[in-house]
Symmetry: C2
Amino acid sequence: MPVYKAPVEDFLFLVLDVFPLERHSNLPGFADMTSGTLKMILAEASKLAEEAFVPSNPVGDQEGCTWHPDGSVTTPNGFKEAYEDYTSGGWMGLSASVDFGRQGLPATLNAVMQEFLCSANLALSMHFGLTQGAIAVVLARGTQEQKKIFVPKMVEGAWTGTMNLTEPHCGTDLGLLKTKAVPNGDGSYAISGTKIFISAGEHDMAENIVHLVLARIEGAPAGTKGISLFVAPKFIVNDDGSVGERNGVSCGSIEHKMGIHGNATCVVNYDGAKGWLIGQENRGLNAMFVMMNEARLAAGVAGLSQSEVAYQNAVACAKDRLQGRSLTGAKFPDKPADPIIVHPDVRRTLLSIKAFNEAARALVVWTALKSDIAHRSSDEAERQSADDHMGLMTPVVKGVLTDLGFANAVKAQQMFGGHGYIEEWGMSQFVRDARITQIYEGANGIQAMDLVGRKLGKDGGRAIMGFFNEVGAFCQENAGDDTLKGFIAPLQEGLSHLQQATMWFMQNAMAKPDNAGAGATDFMHLFGLVAMGYMWAKMAKVAHSKKQQGNGVAEKMDAKLLTGRFFMERLMPETASRLACIQAGSDTIMEMPTHLF
Amino acid sequence: MPVYKAPVEDFLFLVLDVFPLERHSNLPGFADMTSGTLKMILAEASKLAEEAFVPSNPVGDQEGCTWHPDGSVTTPNGFKEAYEDYTSGGWMGLSASVDFGRQGLPATLNAVMQEFLCSANLALSMHFGLTQGAIAVVLARGTQEQKKIFVPKMVEGAWTGTMNLTEPHCGTDLGLLKTKAVPNGDGSYAISGTKIFISAGEHDMAENIVHLVLARIEGAPAGTKGISLFVAPKFIVNDDGSVGERNGVSCGSIEHKMGIHGNATCVVNYDGAKGWLIGQENRGLNAMFVMMNEARLAAGVAGLSQSEVAYQNAVACAKDRLQGRSLTGAKFPDKPADPIIVHPDVRRTLLSIKAFNEAARALVVWTALKSDIAHRSSDEAERQSADDHMGLMTPVVKGVLTDLGFANAVKAQQMFGGHGYIEEWGMSQFVRDARITQIYEGANGIQAMDLVGRKLGKDGGRAIMGFFNEVGAFCQENAGDDTLKGFIAPLQEGLSHLQQATMWFMQNAMAKPDNAGAGATDFMHLFGLVAMGYMWAKMAKVAHSKKQQGNGVAEKMDAKLLTGRFFMERLMPETASRLACIQAGSDTIMEMPTHLF
């Protein structure tokens, strides 16, 4: 049975020392982010993850969800109870506005929560993961009445939310979508069409499901400019807010997938279902992007979550599995063999995962904090700069944390030898579950194109220039700090590679967009390395100063510094080869005739 | 339903043009390796793969093998029939010696065969894949009588062979093994113990199963120096060669695995089973390595095979899937969207797989040909040099072709978007099946250690110096060839990185072996890149000269050259970062206290 212990201490290091939330006490909801409060919240969150979510994770993988001929779906044993623990703890509304009777705490804490719960049970977490995004959409674009009807129920977790975009013939290219909406004359629309890949599109864990669905109003323009967003609940809501008659929306089947078996991926059929317009006609994609951006950050966190839980199990195995002897002589001569953690190649593998996990976690906290600032600050300049950061970093967090999250789950599985391939050991599940994070919420190639094609040049490159300035200034300020010697030089080199790549795009991709496409994925990963390298440099600085305090944390801070040094020595060198690939351009790639692939 | 077409043309390019088998007509079995013969053999082989093996591949994944309480195992629907097609075609004995009534054709052709059959159906191919290794062991170390009893039956495929090494507490570290052998007094031994992870340890496709099993003779020394090799058939063989009474060996259960569901991975219980010593007492590991080396090369081919079949399906999808428009304007304005193959990032992904596949295939043919030379040449110097090559390249082929084979199957799956995650599309199976190749026959970390710890320094580094000399000479000879401009410079740079890495080990790992361990995996991959880069340079030279012949192959040769250029531009840059990682050494890695991982 796999183990999992929520990385509470590491998160506390981030929210207390590296990005102290207390410093933002002027923001709504940040008033009481003291060490005591944060420790209490994280302790409760870790308890929920470890005790309520972990046990049903392998169960969900083995049992899967069951679709019944009446269109209902049963979730695996234990899921319902775990979800009740989640909602009764008030976790869904953790960061929801106090207008809805909730705590209004920082969304940053939600990101922490997401990592814990996804590590513990990704398939289960996906049942309600999109609900927060659905809440955000209704709050941002819905009418007062829609907010009143749907938000409180979703905030309390009594109803869950879904996101209905994909159709059998279109995923990435939503301009092709065919689902149609015909006005009923009473303000509602009759929605007809088929949506696929709808996560938690049907289940037995909540009394209603709030489908947010993209459709084309009769007579709307073709392409993406004719798409509107509707809310179409599974059960029509009565005037008193209670659940009424069944709507014309049903689950036609569920998919047989590589992983996340515990989450029903549904074909959802709309058969004249009643729906209500959210936001303006034909502005549906724009409205959906409120949800999409939340979902993309959450996908990145999900990628990290599988890397973390797989890592913890790999460490346990490496300490436990006795095979062979250390290259420098037996370390445990009294045992029949040494544990494999004595081997440099095993340590290198484990450290490469650990060094990523801790940097990725910092990147998530940094970005989530920017999201709080963008939504809550009263200072317009601060809001804008935070929003720039969010836009720029969303595809990086989604693409890089899921690509490396998956790769790390595979590396962790490898530590088990043949046992890693046997389902009972649980490592296969982490790999299979992690795999979806690279695909959903926009496949990673799309993230790379979003970054390079949209985010880089936006507002004259304001966001990327802001990033360059911040990292550059940090390097300059700390260039003379001997304790950061192993950090600043590689970070500066990585930054220079990133700047050269950006410059190369400016010079070569304006006239020839294929050069941008050909380098997009390498650029995204180059960016991810530099962003994580910056996180390590910041963490190293804090770790050094904490060490001076000598309050019993020296050993842990030394481990931080070693892990960071490993990142600089072993992961940062890749920035050079990423740059070389980008600068190779698109000629060879585009020259190959299609029929000769 | 996934597609597969055996890459016959690409193999013909290799065995006719790049490494012309005809040039070795002095070797036994190579007399008739003309274009006509080779085309005929490959056409037949491809037919077997495409028609007999492909259809039951998804069936095997879905049905799996079934273990019955009497210890018998039923294989999936269609496996038996496909295996009959294989044996009745005489394929098992393709390269077996004419002493056993077979064709004695080059083992190189076996490697081709392996790729075809593993692409078509890896789980099925693994049922008999080890039989050729078992034949090799019995031929190399068995008595005349053992050869007479076991070899002809295995050559005709009536009996299959297995390799029994792993036990519940030991895989990599065979010194720990406990299975014991007690002399029966009649020349046979009573073998008792439990072996795990035995591929095709029980099945219903052959009338007997020849288990080659490692065990410790009572009173033998501890560790690896007390291990002997035995043959213990499922059924005792009567004096007339017919199958007699059941031996005390049985399948206790089969594993529930991530992939290769169609192959039974067995727990095999030896309960005083009758076994006969093969080779000398306590020299079992040495004897087993005859089989192990064959199995490692075959594992590399299996990795490549999944990359190839996944690639073919990804190309079909990329040509077929309509999403979005080309960055340079609609390419198919009459269709609702362009096929995704217009996008540079999709082409980059596909080319990165294709460029690997063709180089890896060349590396396999080159190495298999060396194996033929090592076994068949009458020239001792030639045999030695070929054997050097084999020893050096075996861990590289195993480790690199399986790591990249798996990574490529994942990339190919990504082309399908959400559909790639749905089992019915078949891409998940390629990923799950490919995963085992990184683990079995010695996990890839072990391959890296074998390369760096054993093979590099062997015979004063004779093998690696031979490789450096050959590649260096090629670069020098062709430095002035303008048509090879994009090939020689990156190859030379990669070679220089590899030489620097080797030098670094010489200077830093002798006194401090942890430096070798810490850099082993990076070194293996650096080596793989240079070896594949060399293959591309050789292929490019041949492609240019074939183009001059103008015999209607110009377009295909241009595609070769483009693919090779892609490899040089996009895959070779990684050699620099691999070198940097190696040179980072082991200090940081070893300094981390175990309890702080």
